[in-house]
Amino acid sequence: MDFLLNAVVNGLMSGAIYVLVAIGLTLIYGVLHIINFAHGALLMLGMYVVFFLVTRWGLDPYLSLPLVAGAGFAVGYLLYRGVIGRFSHGKDENILLITLGLSIIFENAALFFFSAHTNIIDLDYTDDIFILGEIFIPYTKAVSFAAALVICLVLSLYISRSDLGKAIRAVAKERHGARLVGINVETVYALSYGLGIACLGAAACLLMPSYYVSPTVGHSFVLIAFTIVVLGGMGSFVGALVGGLIIGVAESVSGAFLGEQLGQIAIPIIFILVLLVKPTGLFRGAQ
């Protein structure tokens, strides 16, 4: 029983990290209606930023979260304005190809500048763990879990209450109508892309204390994030949150009882079941 409980708690903690990666992806999909293939590569760049902030300037990853998320927002905004929006000519297939191209450029640039070495940060609290009876909760994962929930809540409130949030929802629902009522659709696209990458910046800060960074690290997370987005409902924040936690728990529990390899089948099985029973995902998307 303790083993099962530990597996569930561990899954929730891991799922929270997946949520943060997926929430940026779902935001970008919900508004721009494209899959951001550069998501994994941008996560990797965020993790390198955190790594260098720690190793060069001694800045704690958690304290650097606002800075890295802010930088992520700026990078995302400029990337959309300068490259994606400019060269896509309004065609979704062009955006897909551009983001795919960007991911290749970023990964190879990282390989060139940072080499293929994996980098780890060793912090005073890296090995800290809360032991509640027979339940083991690593400190870094507990922080990630709490931060992910807070970020999801803040982002949801912002999207539902603020003027920009309303504009984002309007563009997501009907871009031509939004344009007709005076919303600058291109700016909303760029801001949404920026917000999506800001989420990745936050995820990078929360991941680095317990993981490593290498030029290909994004691959480990981006496929699972795609699964969460589809499972939760493309474009849905709540869907990403619930979907991420479900995937985390499913992966952990099945891994614990079926083994690390066979346990991985839980994710595609859940994914296929949801597509069969509720093809739109667990929650309705931004539209």
């Binding site: 083993f3 080499s115 090995d127 290909t216 997370f221 699972i224």
Partner: protein, 409 residues
């Protein structure tokens, strides 16, 4: 204007000459492919990009340092001082790319290949090279399938997982016995590829023979995102030993996770690809008292120390990939020297007859049986006082093993 006119004939001449060269090349590709008498082309294939690029880049570094040394010392003397010219390739850690690199290098006229780190890539690349009867020196590549297919062009310098498991089990038996047999149970954790699966199968067969009961075998994917579940499982099983075979990232991630979850066990790995200076530097607490059986150099050999200094001066880690590849090139150079020819048949024969001993590994002189260097031998290592110490075999040992992990004794 005048100058333009003056240049015109030269331009026409240039175009005519280059066209002639291009046509000639198309008509007689062999003319360009043929090696000049003053060079021997060697194909060097490693995963320079992809998931195991760290290892591949260090393999290439070792190869290039050896080639630099040979060329600076006058090249292959029996070939009139011919220099070794590397033809470099990136397998990306993918089988099909590795095979494509073999084909490309064959077109470039290489006399031999050296590579390629990942066992599946080595298996396919050596097979591809066999078509052209080109000798292939395997610097690192752990699967015993590499040398059990009857290919006469394959020569593996370092031991495979069969030899490593034999050495590891012998070392473990000795170390456990000397400590009063504190260990009686084991959980094997392994990566799910050729290296990990092959090693775990051998361990499962051999560990009961030395009185160790295997409680569980846990396979994991590459890359693995988390080992938290594995740590929880290990906490519930309470094995005396955890034996891990995996690539660098997962090796380090598992060690850190076991440390974080305070799993009371001793870690004794066979071919733990992450065991090394980088692991020690980045995770000193998790690395303390870790034991591994792997490729290693003789710690008292000045040539090894000189190479270590050279590698570190270039801001790289002196990991086993460097010195295995370095020695593989020196082995090939020795074979070229004795063959006195870059002819593939002569070189293959020379490698097959090799008794090369001018290396700094804890090996006997090379002796190839079915392509495997029977003189090769793995070493037992342990991280003690923030140093990597050789603890087995005793004749080369730089420290006594500390067993079991005193943190959980």
């Amino acid at each position: 204007m005048e100058s333009k006119k003056a240049r015109s004939p030269q331009r026409r001449e240039f175009i005519a000459r280059s066209t002639a060269v291009a046509l000639g090349t198309m008509a007689f590709p062999g003319l360009l492919r043929a090696q000049s008498a003053k060079e021997v082309r060697v194909g060097i294939i490693h995963p320079m990009t992809g998931l195991v690029a760290y290892s591949g880049q260090h393999c290439r570094l070792g190869s290039m340092l050896a080639i630099e040394q040979i060329n600076n010392n006058g090249g292959i003397k029996s070939l009139g001082g011919a220099k070794i010219t590397p033809v470099l390739g990136d397998s990306q850690g993918r089988v099909e790319v590795g095979v494509a690199e073999v084909e490309r290098m064959n077109e470039a006229g290489v006399a031999a290949y050296v590579g390629c780190y990942n066992s599946p890539v080595v298996i396919a690349a050596t097979q591809a090279a066999a078509k052209y009867e080109t000798p292939f020196v395997v610097d690192v590549g752990s699967s015993d399938l590499i040398v059990s297919r009857g290919l006469t062009n394959v020569f593996r310098f370092s031991p495979g997982f069969g030899q490593c498991v034999d050495t590891g089990v012998a070392a473990l038996e000795t170390i456990n016995k000397d400590a009063g047999n504190p260990a009686s149970t084991v959980v094997i954790v392994h990566e799910s590829g050729e290296m990990g699966t092959g090693t775990s199968k051998l361990l499962m067969n051999q560990l009961p023979d030395i009185g160790l009961k295997v409680l569980d075998v846990i396979a994991h994917d590459n890359p693995a995102r988390s080992f938290d579940n594995v740590a929880l499982r290990l906490r519930s099983l309470k094995p005396d030993l955890v034996m891990h075979t995996g690539y660098a990232n997962e090796y380090q991630l598992l060690a850190r996770t076991l440390k974080r979850f305070k799993v009371p066990t001793t870690q004794f790995s066979i071919m733990g690809a992450g065991f090394g200076i980088k692991f020690l530097r980045e995770s000193p607490d998790a690395a303390a008292y870790q034991m591994d059986v792997n490729h290693w150099y003789r710690p008292d050999d000045p040539r090894a120390q000189a190479l270590k200094n050279e590698v570190e001066a270039r801001k790289h880690d002196f990991v086993y990939e460097v010195f295995c590849s370095y020695n593989a090139i020196l082995l090939l150079a020795d074979a070229l020297e004795r063959a006195g020819s870059a002819d593939k048949g002569a070189l293959t024969e020379s490698l097959a007859q090799s008794t090369w001993s001018d290396h700094f590994m804890p090996y006997a002189p090379t002796r190839f049986v079915n392509g495997q260097n029977e003189g090769g031998r793995a070493a037992g290592l342990q991280i003690l006082n923030n140093q990597i110490e050789m603890i087995y075999p005793e004749q080369f040992a730089s420290a006594k093993p500390v067993f079991p992990n005193p943190e959980f004794r």
